[in-house]
Every structure is written in structure tokens, then in C-alpha cells.
Amino acid sequence: MTQEARVQEFVSAFNALRAEVEKVIVGQREIVTHVLIGMFAGGHVLLEGVPGLGKTLLIKTLAEGLEFSFSRIQFTPDLMPADIIGTNIIVEDAAGRKHFQFQQGPIFAHILLADEINRATPKTQSALLEGMQEGCVTVGGASRPLPSPFFVLATQNPIEMEGTYPLPEAQLDRFIFKLRVRYPALEELNAIIDRTTHARPVSVNRVMTGPTVLAHRELVREVPIASHVRDLASAVVMATHPEWEHAPDATRRFVRYGASPRGAQALVLGAKVRALADGRYNVSVEDLKALAAPALRHRIILNFEGEAEAVDVDALVGDIVEGVERQIAQDKEPFLR
């Protein structure tokens, strides 16, 4: 198969999967696209939005469009780590001898929907850490691999914070993107009403298998990125650190901790998927700019002043990107700007 054919196949698969999801989900095209980008980049995605915007439905629909095993965990304060990972139970064999047998938890699935993840205690949230990063879990001293591809899609509600545990930074960092699900527009709301109150439910076709997703992930890593585009990604991530010598004023004033190197990885990997989905063979500056907010918004921790003044992290990321680009342009002679 030629490289052009491989890329074309990726584009077709991407669009087909998005079309299947959009049979059910009205609007939210950007969110759907970013979820798919996160999946093909090999990361996990956190969806944040008020109740009723279709976060859970989006993930369920996505799982229906893929020939994957799917688990859903409704996170509650009394959920325990063993409820997620699994535990050893005593079983009796045919000869009447008793022995321990590992009972797999719901984490052993290709797609894991962690619904309202911030309602569980940090201890339980941390049960996902190893699985999300390493692709395996350790129970009773034995490491057990998770099915591949393994894709965690978590949801959380930004309001009704009573009885919630904000995700620890270590866990937030493991999500490649944090997506903010917006409220639908009037036309979209009309379409939602028409679609969901119809007599016949919409059926979603399975358009992709696990091995296909893995092959596409390999293709994503082959996409070349020019050094100046990579440098821009690094500069943007560095500019989120207030102690960096070239950090913009907004960062110095409002940011306590900047994005980790995972932020730069997320930015570049996401940009590669976006480029491929667009039918391009290389990463462009526009790809980075489009994914800067989803990749960095949860990795920037505001300081006291930033929180007190209710600084919008998305706007801050936009300012940082703009400032870095301006700085780069200023360093060039006017003929080359």
C-alpha cells in the first residue's frame, strides 16, 4: 500500500467514525473531532460540561462505532479501587480445592467511560493512574496488561462541586486533552429535540476495529514536523512557566505552575493527528494553535492572583501562543516576517 493510500484510508476512517457519532450527537463537531484526535494520538480525554450536554452519550456512541469492548464506571464517593481494577476471589474447582482467582474489574476494556470521575475519592481516582500511563495494572504483586488499545474517556461536571474531589494534578496530566463541552445553539437544540423524540432510534454502525486503530496510531507517529513548528510547540509550553526568562507578563502574573513535558507531547501528537485527518502529511503551525487550549488548559495551575481574578485559562493560553508568535516574528528581519 502506498503512503498516499494509507493516509487516504486514515482520512476515510476518521470521517466515517465522526459521521457515525454525529448520527447521534448533534453539533459539538469540534468536541467529537478532538475526542477522535485524542484516541488516535493514543491518549485519554477528559470531557467537562454541565449535565445534559451529551458527554456520556458521545462516548457511548463512539464505543458503538468501534468494535471494542466497552465498560462504564459511574464514579461515586464510596467506589473503591478494587471496584475498578478487580480483586482476587476464592473459587472452588471441580476437585473441591479452593484457590484464589483474579476477577477482572471494569478497567479491562478497550474503552473505559469514567463517568463523573471527580465524585470518587482521590484513592479511587488514582487506581486509574497506572492503567492510563502504563497500559497495565498491578494486583497482588502481579502486573496484568490491559487490552490494547486502551482509551479512557472521563467526564466531570464543573458545577455542583459539593461532594466532589478535584482531580489531582498527576492524574489530570495523564489526560491528553481536556475538552469543554459547550451548550448547544438554538438550531442544534431543535435538531436534538427532533432526533431524540423520534419513534425510531438511530443505529450506529461499527466502522473500525482495534487493530485498525493501532495501525493508524503508528501512522500518526510517522508524520513529519518541521523544526520551526516543533520549536513553537516547545516555546509555547515553556512560556506557560512563570520562571522562564522569556515568559510573557500574563504568565508571570497569573500562573503558578506551567505545563509539563507531557503537554508538549500532547500538543505535537494531537497536531499530527489533526494534520492527517486534514489529509496533510506534515504538521503546520495552525494545527498547534488549534490544539493549544485542549492540550494545555488542564496543565496550567493558576496562582492565587489568577484564581482571585477568575482568569480564563483558555484566554491565557491564547495570549501565550500569540505572544510567542509575536516574539518569534520580532526576532526576524522585516523581509522575512
Partner: protein, 489 residues
């Protein structure tokens, strides 16, 4: 150049060469103009020396301009243009989304992926479809605007008589002659006024002195007492021209500024933030852009009281600063009170920062719980449940860092009749009523909100509600009586 096995981006290199040539020509124009300017300046110098050089000065002046022009052009053409920069320029100008720069860079790399060949082919195809045009902007040097000056000067000098050269005589530094006796100017009225020392206010800080004397642009005259516009004089809004249309339509920033000081609590944001942040925000709203004498002492006092309450409740160390601020307010020294408030705010902020969790550090809940546990131990609290859980924790799921809309949970009282009681006495006055106090353990618990801190806001809300007819007319008197009774306390 690419090696034998890699893709061959000749078309891309051709495009880059064309762009490089464009950059060189633009540079040549730029530097040629600069050279012409400096050549003209040198020509003027030559013409000034016409007395010494004679007719050669005219020749030199005429030759220096084209010489400078040519030198500049050669310099511009000779300067190196990076192919990578030229490729990026082409990408931006033709909307190629970094294809050319990436293809050129990766086609030479040994670790190129199979996709690079496809990228080169794609970029070549797109470059072939591009309409060739000038994409490098013309950048005129600043000197070009001043070029007529030396040109005119040269013309005048060329046509006019030669300028006489200086003779080289040193100035006469000998002592003054008898006839030129120095006059005593110290007796003048103006000098006397200058000598008079200005009265100094010992309590005023230098920073505020400076702010008093140095008026910002567009502020107009001095502020008079009771002049509402005075609050804008020292802000960035002072330089803005009023736009009455927008003022009426959607509210001017000045209106918002006025509202900030005593606005109603924003239930969505204020109560989800910590009380420390609320105090911080209030202090910013109170002091933002205003001079000390423009800040309401009442509001300042309320803020200081709230900080004092927070200090008592949270074990903060800013009590002495707050006390100093209150004392300063008693004596009418607002600048000193503000300074004390700043100090207290810094301590408050430091404590809040210290309590917050950080990356790789102990979690917020853990540190909060630990700190609270230590405080409880310090107070001699006993009992297993009190050691394990902080105030209200363990009884409410998820209590911890949760920025609850209801604020921090109150301490749970046990089902003991002696835990809480109410005592009261009748009050005489225009409006009769009862003054009540809580007794027992309940009486020791701090209030969630300082009563005097919110009563003003509620009174304003009441007045608004009455003005907007949101309350049935029959109840108006009753409500007003209630608030009046509160005033009499």
C-alpha cells in the same frame, strides 16, 4: 542536496531560490536607500568644506550619493538568506501550511519516515499550482523620510557661497573686567519664594506625596471634596473621552467601577472561591485606582474587620497589622491604614498559598486536614472523631477542597441539650425587640459571614427590590421598619 535514495524536491528548491532572490532585491532596495541617505549626509559635509576643497567638493558631493546607493545595494544583495526562512516565507505567503519547509528539512534527514516521500510529492504538486508573484514586502528605511533634508542642504550649499571655516580661536576665559560687576540676584522675589521651604506632613508617605503632585494627563484640575468625578482622576479611565451613547446602552466602565465597591455578592463565583480570595478581591475592588483619601473609611473598616475575623478563625498572623490599621483609621490616617491592610493581605495570601497543594507535594486536602488537626490539638480538642476529621469532615461526603456554595461546613453539634442555647433580654427603644445571644458550644462557633459586612449589601438589595416593585406594596413599610430597627442596634 538530497541523497540518491531520498525524494528530490527540485521544484521546492526552485521556489525557494525565487523567494531568496526576491528577499535579496528587497534588501538591496532597503540598504540602497539607506546608503543614499548617508551618502547625501557625507556630501553635505563635503560641501561645507567647499572652502578647503574647492571644485572637488562638488564632485565629491555628487559622487557620494550614488556611491552610498551602490554600496547599500551591494550589501543587501550580498547578505545571506537562509533557505529555511525563505521556505517558511513561501509557506505563509502561498498558504502551503508549512509543507515546503517541512519537505525540504525532512528530505535531507537520515531518519525520514516513509511519509516524507508523499509529503515531497504533495508539496511539489501544490507549488506547481502556485501563481508566482512578489511575496516579499517592500520595507522602506526610516532614513528615507529624512532624505530631502540633506538633499536640500546640499543644493543650498552647492549654489550658495562657501561657508567660512572656523578660525580655531579659543574662548576668552579671563576674569571679568571692572565694568562687568556681577549683580546680586538673590534679593528677587521669585528666588525668595523658592527658598521658602514647603511644609511637610510627617505622616504622609513619599509615594503618596508624589501621586498628589504629579497629575496624570487629562485629569484636569484638583479634586474637591464630594466631587464624584474625583475617583476617575487617578485611573486609566481618566484619559478616555466619555461616550454617552454607549454609556446609556450597555453601561460604561465607570459605572462598573462604581458598582464594584458595594456590589451584591455573586453567588456563582464568590461562594465557590475561598473567603481569603473574597477578601483579596474586595480589597482590590476597594483600592483599585483610588488614592487613599478617595477610599471610603467605612468600607475600609469593614474589610479590616472581615480580615480580623478570618485571622481569628483561621489562626492567621495578621492580627497585629489589622489592629494597627484599625487604630490608624481611628485617627483618620487612611494611608497608614491602607499600608497595614496591604501587609495583612500579603500575610493572608502567603498563608493561602502555603495551604494550597502543589505538583508532587502533599495534596491540598491532606495539608488542610493536617493543619486543622494541629490547630485542634493546640486547642486541646479530644475524642477520636475530632482527631480523625476536621471541622465537619467525615460527616459530609466529599468535604475537603470542595468550594461549596454554602461555604465551609459548620461544626456538628451532638444531640446534647446543653450544646446550644439562646438567652435574650428585651430591648427598649423606638422599636421594641430582643437582643439574643447563643450560649453553650454553639455560642463559641464563629459566624460564617460577618454581620456588619453584609448588612449594607442586603440593605441595598432591599432598596432595589422595593424600587423595582418586586415586593408587594403592603409589605414595604414592614420591611423598612425591620431594617430601621437593625440600624438602631
Amino acid at each position: 542536496m538530497p541523497d540518491g535514495s531520498g525524494p528530490h524536491p527540485e521544484a521546492l528548491e526552485g521556489l525557494v531560490r525565487r523567494i531568496t532572490a526576491q528577499v535579496r532585491w528587497r534588501r538591496a532596495e532597503h540598504y540602497a536607500l539607506r546608503g543614499a541617505f548617508y551618502g547625501a549626509v557625507a556630501g553635505v559635509v563635503a560641501l561645507v568644506l567647499k572652502v578647503a576643497f574647492g571644485a572637488w567638493a562638488l564632485v565629491a558631493a555628487g559622487a557620494l550619493v550614488p556611491l552610498g546607493l551602490a554600496a547599500g545595494a551591494v550589501w543587501g544583495l550580498a547578505k545571506r538568506v537562509s533557505p529555511t526562512e525563505a521556505a517558511r516565507l513561501a509557506d505563509r505567503a502561498f498558504g502551503l501550511q508549512d509543507r515546503v519547509a517541512t519537505a525540504l528539512e525532512w528530505s535531507n534527514r537520515p531518519d525520514r519516515t516513509p511519509l516524507v516521500a508523499a509529503l515531497v510529492a504533495d508539496a511539489t504538486a501544490r507549488v506547481g499550482a502556485v501563481e508566482p508573484r512578489q511575496i516579499v514586502p517592500r520595507v522602506l528605511p526610516r532614513e528615507v523620510w529624512w532624505l530631502p533634508v540633506p538633499a536640500l542642504a546640499a543644493l543650498v550649499l552647492a549654489l550658495g557661497p562657501p561657508v567660512p571655516l572656523l578660525t580655531g580661536r579659543f574662548p576668552d576665559l579671563s576674569p571679568l573686567s571692572e565694568s562687568e560687576e556681577p549683580t546680586d540676584r538673590s534679593g528677587g522675589e521669585l528666588v525668595q519664594q523658592d527658598r521658602r521651604s514647603l511644609p511637610k506632613d510627617a505622616l504622609r508617605k513619599p509615594a503618596f506625596d508624589e501621586r498628589d503632585f504629579v497629575q496624570r494627563a487629562g485629569t484636569g484640575g484638583a479634586a474637591t471634596a464630594g466631587d464624584l468625578s474625583a475617583i476617575f482622576k487617578d485611573t486609566s479611565l481618566a484619559t478616555q473621552r466619555p461616550d454617552f451613547n454607549s454609556f446609556l446602552k450597555k453601561g460604561d466602565e465607570r459605572l462598573r467601577l462604581l458598582e464594584q465597591v458595594d456590589r451584591l455578592p455573586d453567588l456563582q463565583s464568590d461562594f465557590t472561591a475561598s473567603q481569603y480570595k473574597m477578601v483579596f478581591r474586595k480589597s482590590k475592588a476597594l483600592t483599585g485606582g483610588l488614592r487613599p483619601d478617595q477610599i471610603s473609611p467605612k468600607k475600609l473598616r469593614e474589610l479590616l474587620e472581615e480580615m480580623e475575623r478570618l485571622g481569628r478563625k483561621g489562626g492567621g498572623s495578621w492580627g497585629s497589622d489589622v489592629a494597627e490599621g484599625m487604630e490608624a483609621l481611628e485617627y483618620g490616617q487612611q494611608d497608614r491604614a491602607l499600608e497595614a491592610m496591604e501587609k495583612a493581605l500579603n500575610k493572608l495570601r502567603a498563608m493561602e498559598e502555603a495551604q494550597r497543594s502543589g505538583k508532587g507535594l502533599r495534596g491540598g486536602r491532606e495539608s488542610e486536614r493536617g493543619a486543622r488537626g494541629e490547630r485542634n490539638r493546640g486547642r486541646g480538642a479530644s475524642g477520636a472523631d475530632e482527631q480523625d476529621f476536621g471541622e465537619g469532615e467525615g460527616l459530609l461526603p466529599g468535604k475537603g477542597k470542595s468550594p461549596s456554595a454554602k461555604g465551609d461546613a459548620s461544626q456538628r453539634l451532638r444531640a446534647n441539650a446543653y450544646d446550644v442555647g439562646v438567652e435574650g433580654e428585651a430591648r427598649r427603644g423606638r422599636k421594641e425587640g430582643y437582643d439574643t445571644n447563643m450560649t453553650g458550644q454553639g455560642g463559641k462557633m464563629p459566624s460564617r459571614l460577618l454581620y456588619m459586612g453584609v448588612i449594607g449589601q442586603y440593605r441595598k438589595a432591599m432598596e432595589d427590590a422595593l424600587a423595582r416593585e418586586q415586593v408587594p406594596r403592603d409589605y414595604h413599610e414592614q420591611i423598612k421598619d425591620y431594617f430601621q430597627a437593625l440600624d438602631e442596634r
